[in-house]
Subunit: 356 residues, 2 copies
């Protein structure tokens, strides 16, 4: 049974503005100054488990050039270009059809292109075990991370009955973005896990689940032409007709054959500046200096990040994000970071597309 990987790479990442911009979202950035972008790191991380000719990248057609530039070894036919933004469900449905056309017995790891995984060996082990599990029966599997804080921005998975395989359990419930009180309960119960957005299944079984749980998406892609000759033309027309919906909402929360594999990966979704701050090593005053040289006095709990060779001199900042890109400078309280999406919208309205 051949194993495939689908790297979802079409997001905009506005919570990382101004580094992440619509013309070059965060998955294409070298966030840590390591010489490797998040997409490249994701690709390399998957390679020991899935052979490169079976790694498929799905992205918005706007980013075709970036993907080719950053992953020069990837073959043209392994880059799927979405003609419109429609969230994760249509992306996953198309990719499953595409892979099924190439290999009816394929199993698939589907994952975002912009996460951080510090424990690579554990990650590889988790994928191996998970793939075996989904190859053995009609099951949908998601990776669950043991929560370390009552984060209100994640989806939570409640574990249910054991599956017979260690660390893999039936899912009892999904809860998207709970309130702070509820997240606190979840954290303390020990029964809940963060939904990492890393999914395992066979091509056949996920399409079966689409038919059952999300017919409005399934019909768009059913009976499509996924041959090399016809796929592009078909997708250009069909894809935009899909509703915009996440895989969690379309399938995972509805299907009755969903399992969670509980894992410890040193994982962060890098969903926001706060997430980056939390996982980064702190200096003496609890500040994070991301890829920059900093001279700070009387600053605490502040994240300083620059693009390019630049220094920062700061005095008296407490719990701030200072993020400096070529086009924009953000000086913003960490506590208000959930407002950043609105800020980005406001920037777009007031100053124009070029800044977001």
């Amino acid at each position: 049974m051949a194993r495939y990987c689908v790297i979802m790479c079409g997001g905009v990442g506005s919570r990382f503005w101004p580094f992440s911009r619509s013309e070059k979202p965060k998955q294409f950035l070298d966030f840590f100054g390591s010489g490797t972008t998040l997409l490249q790191a994701t690709y390399e991380r998957v390679k020991p488990v899935v052979s490169p000719e079976r790694i498929v990248v799905v992205t918005n057609k706007e980013y075709a050039g970036l993907v080719k530039e950053q992953l020069p070894e990837i073959k043209e036919e392994n880059i799927l270009l979405e003609p419109a933004r429609r969230n994760t469900a249509p992306c996953i449905c198309w990719a499953a059809h595409h892979i099924l056309e190439r290999d009816p017995e394929a199993s698939i790891v589907t994952l975002p292109s912009d996460q951080l995984v510090l424990k690579e060996a554990a990650f590889h082990k988790a994928l191996e075990k998970g793939l075996e599990f989904v190859e053995g029966g009609d099951r949908l599997l998601t990776l669950g991370i043991r929560p370390t804080s009552p984060h209100t921005g994640y989806g939570y998975i409640q574990r249910g009955e054991p599956s017979g395989t260690d660390e893999i359990l039936k899912v009892k419930s999904f809860t998207e973005k709970p309130t702070a009180d509820v997240a606190e309960l979840f954290l303390n119960s020990g029964e809940f896990f963060w939904n990492a957005g890393i999914f395992l299944w066979t091509a056949r079984n996920i399409l079966k689940a689409f038919d059952k749980c999300a017919p409005q998406v399934a019909t768009v892609f059913a009976d499509g032409d996924y041959t090399a000759a016809g796929e592009r033309g078909f997708i250009e027309k069909a894809f935009p007709m899909s509703p915009s919906i996440s895989i969690d909402y379309a399938v995972m929360e509805k299907a009755d054959n969903v399992y969670v594999e509980t894992v410890d990966l040193g994982w962060s979704d890098l969903g926001s500046w706060k997430a980056l701050f939390d996982i980064s090593p702190k200096g003496a005053e609890g500040n994070v200096s991301q890829n920059c040289r900093l001279l700070s006095t009387d600053c605490r709990g502040t994240l300083f990040a620059v693009q390019g060779d630049k220094i920062i001199v700061a005095d008296g900042l407490k719990d701030y994000i200072v993020a400096d890109s070529e086009k924009a400078l953000l000086i913003y309280p960490i506590a208000k970071e959930q407002d950043l999406r609105h800020v980005v919208n406001e920037v777009k309205n007031r100053f124009g597309e070029e800044f977001v």
Copy 2:
């Protein structure tokens, strides 16, 4: 009697870091995004009073290229290049010798290259009147600005007896950088004026004053070769031998023939970010947005300045300087701006010359 002007253009302007850097100090910057640098504005401001072929620019030899680039019409022989940094007295002494060689009857306006003067007509009138005054006798004249705040960074001039010419008075005393209490007294007395650093005299009389008040400087330049053929060679050797001393300290505070012309010029010495903040128009929350597009929430009394086409998003800053250049970002309380010199030193020590 021919009228000359000496524009002093060799300063470093570290209190405007990171905009002002030693390789391109503030006089060479277009501070207001007007398309004109401070040096260019100074040159244009003087032209209606002094004919261009008699405007002399004295600068550090390091800035020869910048001067030629920014003042393309100026003749090579009107650019005097200092081989070392020695404050204003040697600069003025050399320039007076240089001009005396060209015209023994010359009168001279000497002024900094980096000030702001909003009332140009008043400036021209003040120079005309002042030049007449110094051409009529052995007198040294300085322009005095009526103070609007108890600024502790300026020199104060106490006016004495009338001179017979309206608005020109004998100077009773000079006080450099008074304490806050004293500055408050000065302000309330009505007898004190800020020393604008704009001086008028004849070449002959200022050299006479050097002989009398500052022989340690005068001897360095006495008997020099100021011919076109010999000046450069002479200065290269002699200039560095002068003590480093200001004209105020060397001559003005000691001479007994010093007068002040009280003027209202819409003047600012633009000595620091605070000075720029004070004279700039404020937005709704009392912020200044210097040459940048700003989206601010809950900010007050803050100066935002960028170089280049960039936007700033800020939240919650009170009484700050935010100054962003290509090489460095400064986020600093306005109240601590007198520490900026030390910060610049620290930056140099820690990160290297290239950043200052």
